[in-house]
């Protein structure tokens, strides 16, 4: 059905990946290796290269690159597709009439009549600045963490880090070109920055400074931080913008956060968490906890949902993790899933649950329901997803390699995993 696959993202959004390749969507890992900021213009990519994608979307094709969104919706998790539709006035529960009333209807029609072409430019950006990072989170990859890349090389998981470490934003000429493009196109509505650790990447501050100098402070600036640093000068730059979407990466209040977001010092992370929430509150900016629930953290995420509920702040979890496969929730056996489900249910216990799905997860009056909705999606997934035995074997091999390098032991953090991990060779 068309209403299950149509997305307005290709008419308003694009992404630049850490090494400069363009991509059509922040929720998809798809990137165009041949189309890079070094070789092509934003206009060329968005208007022409993305035309076949727009054509497929208008035809109602079910696309492999969109599988993450389809999976999220299967488990009642709000998908990127639903969020992008809503930005153009399309509600999935009133699809046909809201599509017909959409502010982008004429833009869709233009592409329908012109083989997918558009005369628009992106106004919603995902800007991956590069992989420079001070953390080596177990679920990350060298593409997004230089520290993890160095460790992978040391323990023989990859041969070389050079291809990941060549961040486009290190090149002043490219950075200037990008800032110029931003300033000379339509004013973006949203600029979401990602690292690495965004707050320590020099280009982040440079772009903010360029935009502020050009008096272009109306776009909402979103970013995600790993909470390990508090760079006051960059924060001062951020506060020049009218609106921020502050994303705070954390997996649990339990010590497992230290194991997973290695080697993030838990005490500093918790201090900075409070500081960001306080800053957001004082300046009236929305703040969200950004979680990547994985096989190693799902037992201890309920405490963060409770924390968010108590503080009236949102939770935005990423896609159901599939890469690395071994950290996906599917590797968990029945007994651990049951424990995770019962802890999440305990969090939900006694709370009023509305049936209506909340797609605008930043609506401050719906924050608590949004937190409930997100927690429920994990219960749904844990209940219905099939068991991945091969992934479980891979998990043991993977963490043993990392632990040899890090000198730690998962059972110090998760003693309840002993039977499971031992049965797969730990």
């Amino acid at each position: 059905m068309f209403d299950r696959v149509f997305c307005s993202g290709p008419w308003l959004h694009m992404r630049i990946n850490p090494t400069g390749e363009f991509g059509p969507c922040r929720w998809s890992s798809h990137r165009d290796e041949q189309y890079n900021i070094k070789t092509h213009s934003v206009k060329e990519y968005f208007q022409k290269r993305m035309a076949p994608l727009r054509r497929s979307v208008l035809e109602g094709d079910r696309l492999e690159m969109c599988s993450q969104c389809y999976q999220m919706e299967e488990h009642d998790k709000v998908s990127g597709r639903q969020r992008q539709l809503l930005k153009t006035g399309i509600m999935t529960d009133h699809f046909v009439p809201s599509l017909q009333s959409s502010t982008f209807r004429s833009a869709f029609q233009y592409s329908q009549n012109n083989d997918g072409d558009t005369d628009l430019l992106p106004i919603d950006w995902q800007i991956d600045l590069g992989n420079y990072c001070n953390s080596a989170c177990v679920m990350c990859s060298p593409r997004y963490s230089s520290k993890l890349g160095a460790e992978f090389k040391k323990i023989g998981l990859i041969d070389d880090t050079a291809r990941w470490n060549s961040s486009w934003s290190d090149d002043d000429t490219l950075l200037e070109k990008f800032c110029h493009d931003l300033a000379s196109g339509p004013t973006p509505a949203y600029l979401h920055f990602l690292g690495g650790e965004t707050l320590i990447i020099p280009a982040f501050k440079k772009i903010l400074s360029e935009l502020a100098q050009a008096k272009m402070t109306s776009p909402t600036v979103g970013f995600t931080t790993n909470l390990t640093v508090w760079p006051q000068d960059t924060i001062d730059q951020l506060l020049k913008f009218d609106r921020l979407n502050i994303g705070l990466s954390i997996e649990s209040l339990h010590d497992i956060n230290h194991y997973v977001r290695w080697p993030g010092p838990q005490e500093i992370i918790l201090q900075n968490l409070e500081k960001w929430i306080d800053l957001a509150d004082r300046h009236g900016h929305p703040v969200q906890l950004r979680l990547t629930p994985s096989a190693l953290t799902i037992l201890h995420v309920a405490d963060l949902y409770q924390y968010a509920w108590d503080r009236n702040i949102g939770v935005e979890t990423c896609n159901f993790i599939t890469n690395p496969r071994c950290l996906g929730l599917k590797v968990l056996p029945h007994d651990l899933r049951s424990t995770a489900i019962s802890r999440l249910e305990k969090f939900l216990d006694g709370k009023i649950i509305e049936d209506r799905q909340i797609v605008n997860t930043r609506n401050p009056s719906m924050v608590n329901q949004q937190v409930i909705q997100d927690a429920r999606s994990y219960i749904n997934f844990l209940r219905s997803s099939e068991y991945d035995q091969e992934g479980a074997h891979e998990l043991v091999q993977y963490i043993r390699q990392l632990e040899r390098s890090r000198g730690n032991n998962i059972l110090d953090y998760l003693p309840e995993y002993e039977k499971f991990l031992r049965s797969h060779g730990y």
Binding site: P97, Q100, T103
Partner: protein
């Protein structure tokens, strides 16, 4: 509905449903987008359904007329429910109605006890209006590019 052409080819009308309860014997006139769907004395709880064009602003009004305050001070029309495409507008959005009456009563209400007109004008097609006033976040507008 397989694709964009089919989805936009559907002749969708928005469906307005309301439940009106009379107190006493009010004289009521109900208009939706220029069509009068009821005019006269309301004697019993009335359920009305009306289909109208989705692509134009929704203008809906309920008028109470001919009330003589000295004789029938208990006369009123109570809007118990008003839904558009199953989206609850009354009671959820009662504050969006404008109430012009001969007692200068302006507080949000769905109890229409004065001679006057209680009116909703969405100013934009219904779904855009609904998006804005129900906290759905950004409603972006396409802006042609000018990067050259």
């Amino acid at each position: 509905m397989k694709n964009f052409l089919e989805a936009t080819g559907i002749d969708h009308k928005i469906k307005i449903e309301m439940c009106l309860r009379p107190i006493g014997l009010p004289w009521a006139k109900i208009d939706i987008n220029g069509t009068t769907i009821m005019s006269g004395i309301m004697t019993e709880t009335t359920y009305l359904t009306h289909l109208t064009d989705a692509s134009v602003p929704l203008v809906l009004s309920i008028e109470l007329k001919h009330k003589q305050y000295s004789l029938d001070h208990e006369t009123a029309i109570v809007v118990d429910r008003l839904d558009v495409d199953s989206i609850s507008i009354v009671p959820e959005m009662t504050h969006r109605f404008c109430y012009e009456n001969d007692h200068s009563f302006t507080s949000p209400t769905s109890y229409l006890g004065f001679n006057g007109i209680w009116k909703l004008d969405t100013g934009d097609c219904f779904y855009r209006w609904w998006h804005r006033c129900s906290g759905q976040g950004w409603l972006l507008e396409p802006t042609p590019g000018f990067l050259d």
